[in-house]
Amino acid sequence: MSFEEIVKPENLVYKKTELLTDKPLSYCPGCGHGTAHRVIMEVIEELGLEEDTIGVAPVGCSVLAYEFMNIDMTQAAHGRAPAVATGIKRVWPDKIVFTYQGDGDLAAIGTSETIHACNRGENIVIIFINNGIYGMTGGQMAPTTLPGMKSSTSPYGRDTHLMGNPLKITELVAQLPGTYFVSRQAVHTPAAVRRAKKAIKKAFENQRDKKPGLSFVEIVSNCNSGWKMTPNDANKWMEENMFPFYPLGDIKVDGNLINAK
């Protein structure tokens, strides 16, 4: 059978969304960033929001997100994406505005901007990629680095007496009256991707429908390079170590905390 005979519209079961450019991703093979990009862009396409969406890219490995996402995008200073998104949303209240941020970006330098945008109840979406480490700058400790976890600045493992405790920023923002939907997901298996996509879709729908408050979706992800593991080992390590500390699932739905732990 020739290529043309196989690739027919009626045989097509899956295709790349138009909202991703053809530029090769700059992420390490096996990294969760690429899948997270795809899922967000699919959601925006499926909801028909591309003409009205403005994305905000962070500082970190995904600093070039605007090169891959085929929509209008603004690149923000390290940690400031929630403030930048606030500025955009306030002057274009009918547009859909989202930020895409890593844990160093959102939970370290940008803690203030994150908490206050959440607490003000800005009607935006925040997508938070938590890989427990600073990927771009070479694997330094992040606020989300687990106790005992090694990084280039915690080479003997994170000593919480010396280096402080990991910050569960997602649980923290869920407590704020300004958040309407808070969920923690992953994208390392097809089933996880489906659940993540559902959560992201809900987040964008909330904004589209002008539900009161901010929608926040954390994606627990791997950083195989920073963790110095193969992609497979990284995903396994993530399941065994990250998920117990950062349990997956919805934390706040329609403004109500669910199964408060």
């Binding site: 603004t74 200073a77 400031r80 930048v84 606030t86 500025g87 955009i88 547009k95 203030s112």
Partner: protein, 362 residues
């Protein structure tokens, strides 16, 4: 036709002018001596008058990044602060310069360094005209010397900001921010509609229409040669501004042998010193700078050619603007500096005495 006359504080004039200039948003954080700006805006409810957004941010860092976001989306935005707050804004201002976004902001300067004093000062000159944040960049700096100019420069500032896609700084101080004067307010300019913004600013992120190129607001280029190209383009823009946008006022300079150079409150004090000098038979004049960047170097050189014997830079700092005066006159005549600082304001008598001792007698 006369505009509306009012007796206002400088800070209030800034705020009222923002509404009248058709600003879409103001993002700010309180700090003395400029908190009246946001207080006035909140009391005035511009969201009812014109639809303008006013938001008190959690910090100056957040405020300038809100400006960055909204400006990148094509809207007319403004923020104001005072010295320590302006230091916090430098990160965002550098990004605004890199991404070439238009905005207007004001620094109502107080005495420093550090927390310093809430009294007026001009010690933020270097930070204002030499870049301020990281990287090679400039911004247009307007120096009002009256409450009237506080209002007028908001409108002028927005025109220049959009003409060049650049940040325009209104560099004021605690005297002008706090004092009350008569001001003639310009007639309100309507805010642009969303459709007008989309048509007028094709570079802005307003949502990508199907089949069109996406818009990206960024200051990043990982490729050094591309980054150099961008820097060259920025520098060319700054040279164009130097050619086209120099503004100053020459007061009694036609026959002057000795010229004061000053801006803002210092210029008003120096103007009084000119009067005192003339009474004594000293042919003194004043070049009052209106734009600090671009600096009126050519104008100063012209006076040099006419035979000016000496220059005195008068500023409320330990000597910052004086460096630009020296660069401008290129050693044609003596240049000295006189200033009080840390929040102390000089008197006209002191200024004249400095001219007599440092330039005429020296």
């Amino acid at each position: 036709m006369m505009g509306e006359l009012r007796l206002m504080k400088g800070n209030e004039a800034l705020a009222e002018a923002a509404i009248r200039a058709g600003a879409d948003a103001y993002f700010g954080y309180p700090i003395t001596p400029q908190s009246e700006v946001i207080e006035y805006l909140m009391a005035e409810k511009p969201w009812e008058r014109t639809g303008m957004v006013v938001l008190q941010a959690e910090s100056e860092v957040a405020a300038i990044n809100m400006v960055y976001g909204a400006a990148g989306a094509g809207k007319k935005v403004m923020t104001t602060s005072s010295s320590p707050g302006i230091s916090l804004k430098q990160e965002g201002l550098s990004y605004i310069a890199g991404a070439e976004l238009p905005c207007v902001y004001a620094n109502v300067v107080r005495g420093g360094p550090g927390l310093g004093t809430i009294q007026p000062s001009q010690a933020d000159y270097f930070q204002s005209v030499k870049g301020g944040g990281h990287g090679d960049y400039r911004q247009i700096v307007l120096a009002p010397a009256s409450v009237q100019e506080m209002a007028d420069f908001v409108k002028l500032g927005f025109d220049l900001a959009f003409k060049y896609r650049i940040a325009v700084l209104i560099l004021s101080d605690g005297i002008i921010g706090q004092m009350m004067e008569k001001v003639e307010l310009f007639d309100p300019i309507p805010r642009l509609t969303d459709q007008e913004v989309i048509e007028r600013y094709p570079w802005a992120t307003t949502g990508k229409k199907k089949g069109t190129q996406r818009r990206i607001i960024t200051s990043l280029d990982l490729e050094a040669h591309e980054m150099e190209k961008h820097n060259k383009h920025l520098q060319e823009k700054y040279r164009l501004i130097e050619q086209n946008e120099v503004r100053y006022e020459a007061i009694q300079c036609e026959d002057a042998e000795y010229i004061f150079v000053a801006y803002g409150s210092s210029a008003r004090i120096a103007q009084k010193a000119v009067q005192l000098a003339r009474k004594k038979g000293i042919r003194a004049g004043l070049v009052r700078l209106i734009t600090l960047f671009p600096f009126p170097s050519k104008a100063l050189q012209e006076y040099c050619k006419k035979g000016v014997k000496g220059w005195l830079a008068v500023e409320m700092s330990a000597g910052q603007m004086v460096e630009d005066v020296m660069l401008a006159v290129k050693g044609c005549a003596k240049v000295e500096h006189f200033g009080r600082f840390g929040g102390v304001v000089h008197t006209p008598e002191e200024v004249l005495q400095a001219m007599e001792e440092k330039i005429i007698g020296g």
